[in-house]
């Protein structure tokens, strides 16, 4: 076995590393698929808002003894509804409304958390605990992530048309409002799926970077999706194994590896632009 192979394989001798890697792959891929749509729609920061807003839902579900995923999903959706309502009915700009709503909900979650006697560690909700996921957590993640990916891929043409030209989409009879609402729901579901592994703060990074990398490297949507998924998969593997050797947190490692890919895509993009400029 070469040194590189040993470096890659050694961590996987542990069962918790195998589970962690599976969780990282699942979450990475579902986030990557969604990130392509978010980038094209200009909704990158919606992911930021919804993921923070999920916190009070989780805490409340804990108090009431309901499944955490249900609480998180409801809170995430209420956040996007509240943003829409406040924007329609006041003269405050959309980005400001977004900031006010998600920070307010996150703060509410923090305050409620103080009053909860809980076995859940706050930092695990915020940053996930990739290497501590159990097989049942993994199953829960898969049950949410796999159908989410399937729906997004099946409806990708419709989502794409709505993102590029809503008027045209409406003209050919697509239910634009429902597709937008559906995308928000898929966003909330993805965040719920990512909860156990990467937590609600770092999921934002995984919801932006792969799509941005795809956008920089290719001009075709299917290719963009493929690039995003491949980058997310490779980053999840390298990041998880790197975190074992560095003895650092897994989520941040994956995000940093994605950032390295982003820099590479950026360099590629700039070189292409330079070449195009000289050719003309």
């Amino acid at each position: 076995m070469t040194a590189l192979e040993a470096w890659l394989v050694a961590p996987l001798a542990h069962e918790f590393m195998q589970r962690g890697l599976l969780a990282a792959l699942l979450v990475g891929v579902v986030c990557a698929v969604l990130s392509c749509f978010l980038i094209l729609k200009g909704w990158s920061l919606m992911g930021d808002a919804v993921s923070h807003a999920v916190l009070p839902g989780i805490v409340l579900a804990q108090i009431l003894g309901l499944p955490l995923a249900a609480g998180a999903f409801v809170a995430g959706l209420s956040c996007s509804l509240a943003i829409g309502y406040l924007k329609e009915h006041s003269r405050v700009k959309e980005d400001t409304v977004m900031g006010i709503v998600f920070s307010g909900l996150f703060a509410l979650g923090l305050v409620m958390f103080v009053k909860v006697e809980s076995d859940q560690h706050l930092l695990h909700i915020l940053f996930g605990n990739m290497l501590g996921v159990s097989w049942s957590d993994l199953a829960e993640t898969a049950v949410i992530a796999v159908p989410t990916i399937a729906i997004m891929l099946a409806l990708r043409r419709d989502f794409l048309l709505v993102a590029f030209d809503a008027a045209h989409a409406r003209a050919i009879g697509l239910p634009v409002r429902w597709l937008n609402a559906g995308l928000l729901m898929l966003l909330a579901l993805t965040i719920v799926a990512a909860l156990k592994a990467v937590g609600i703060i770092l999921v934002v990074a995984m919801l932006i970077a792969p799509g941005a990398i795809g956008f920089l490297t290719t001009r075709r949507f299917d290719a963009m999706l493929a690039v995003a998924v491949v980058v997310a998969t490779v980053s999840s593997v390298i990041g998880t194994i790197l975190s074992y050797h560095l003895d650092g947190a897994t989520g941040p490692c994956i995000v940093v590896v994605q950032a390295v890919f982003f820099l590479a895509a950026l360099a590629l993009n700039l070189r292409r632009a330079a070449r195009r400029a000289t050719a003309v």
Partner: protein
């Protein structure tokens, strides 16, 4: 009862937390008036996350945390400007990629060296347990920023509303914008200690947005926003004594509740006023 209410003032750390929070809340609220009118709200959020690696490294190397924060904030701002100029990515995606990357680097540094600084106090703030030398830095930053703002707010206002006019009267918009971003990063650094990286965004937009629903003149807007920022921050710090923690959460919850109250009850721009206006229109036109 009154004894119980006065109890927090008997502890030096509580008194200190209250006045430091109020000071920081006031300066951030001052800035919020500019930020939310210009549509730059998310810059505040991005900066707050982007300074985390600087803070982590500063604690690790035992240099003043403000210096590290400032340096990494600057680096992030440069990175955002560069990526935006050279690619076709949308602005929000550029901001998102850069700040989440910086934040992840910060978390990675902290996770590799867990002893130098506590993750929780960076992300969620820890004003009740703030160290003496950090108080000096926070108060210094806040007082200097406040002084600069008091001296230059009219110039900034002119630049933000009408750049041509500003240029015509001999101001330099570029220089003033840079000044504004320096002030904003300084205040994010200060606010990081009180409410933590995640909630800084509320400190630098919510008071301004609330005031914006309450009045139409810029001078008054600033006065109301600063008053709201000071009162909510002091009240949040005070109330956290009874809740055993989560100062940042309480401050932001108070700010959000006031925003919602203004959204419903504001005399001219509130929902009730709008409903009243709609009713009187339909009555005059049967």
């Amino acid at each position: 009862m009154i004894e119980l209410l006065l109890e927090p003032f008997g502890y030096q750390y509580m008194v200190r937390a209250i006045w430091v929070s109020a000071l920081v809340g006031g300066v951030c609220a001052f800035l919020s008036c500019f930020l939310m009118l210009k549509g730059w709200s998310l810059m505040g959020d991005a900066l707050a996350h982007a300074i985390v690696p600087g803070v982590a490294l500063a604690y690790l190397l035992k240099v003043p945390y403000a210096a590290g924060a400032f340096f990494s904030g600057l680096l992030a701002a440069l990175a955002m400007a560069l990526v935006r100029l050279r690619t076709q990515l949308r602005e929000d995606a550029v901001i998102g990629v850069v700040f989440t990357t910086f934040f992840a680097v910060g978390l990675l540094i902290v996770s590799i060296n867990p002893t130098s600084v506590n993750v929780q106090s960076i992300v969620l703030g820890n004003i009740l347990g703030i160290a003496d030398e950090d108080v000096v830095q926070v108060a210094g930053i806040a007082i200097v920023s406040l002084a600069v703002l008091l001296l230059r707010w009219r110039d900034l206002m002119l630049v933000f509303f009408d750049e041509n006019q500003a240029r015509a009267v001999g101001l330099s918009p570029t220089r003033l914008k840079i000044l504004f971003f320096v002030l904003l990063s300084a205040c994010t650094v200060a606010a990081l200690q009180t409410v933590g990286a995640v909630l800084v965004i509320a400190m630098v937009i919510t008071p301004g947005a609330t005031a914006y629903l309450l009045c139409d003149r810029f001078g008054r807007l600033i006065a109301i926003a600063v008053a709201l920022g000071v009162v909510t921050s002091a009240a949040g710090a005070y109330a956290s004594y009874f809740l055993d923690g989560s100062t940042g959460g309480l401050i932001v919850v108070f700010q959000t509740l006031l925003f919602l109250a203004a959204f419903v009850f504001a005399p001219k721009h509130g929902r009730l006023a709008a409903a009243r206006a709609a009713r009187s229109v339909s009555e005059t036109r049967p």
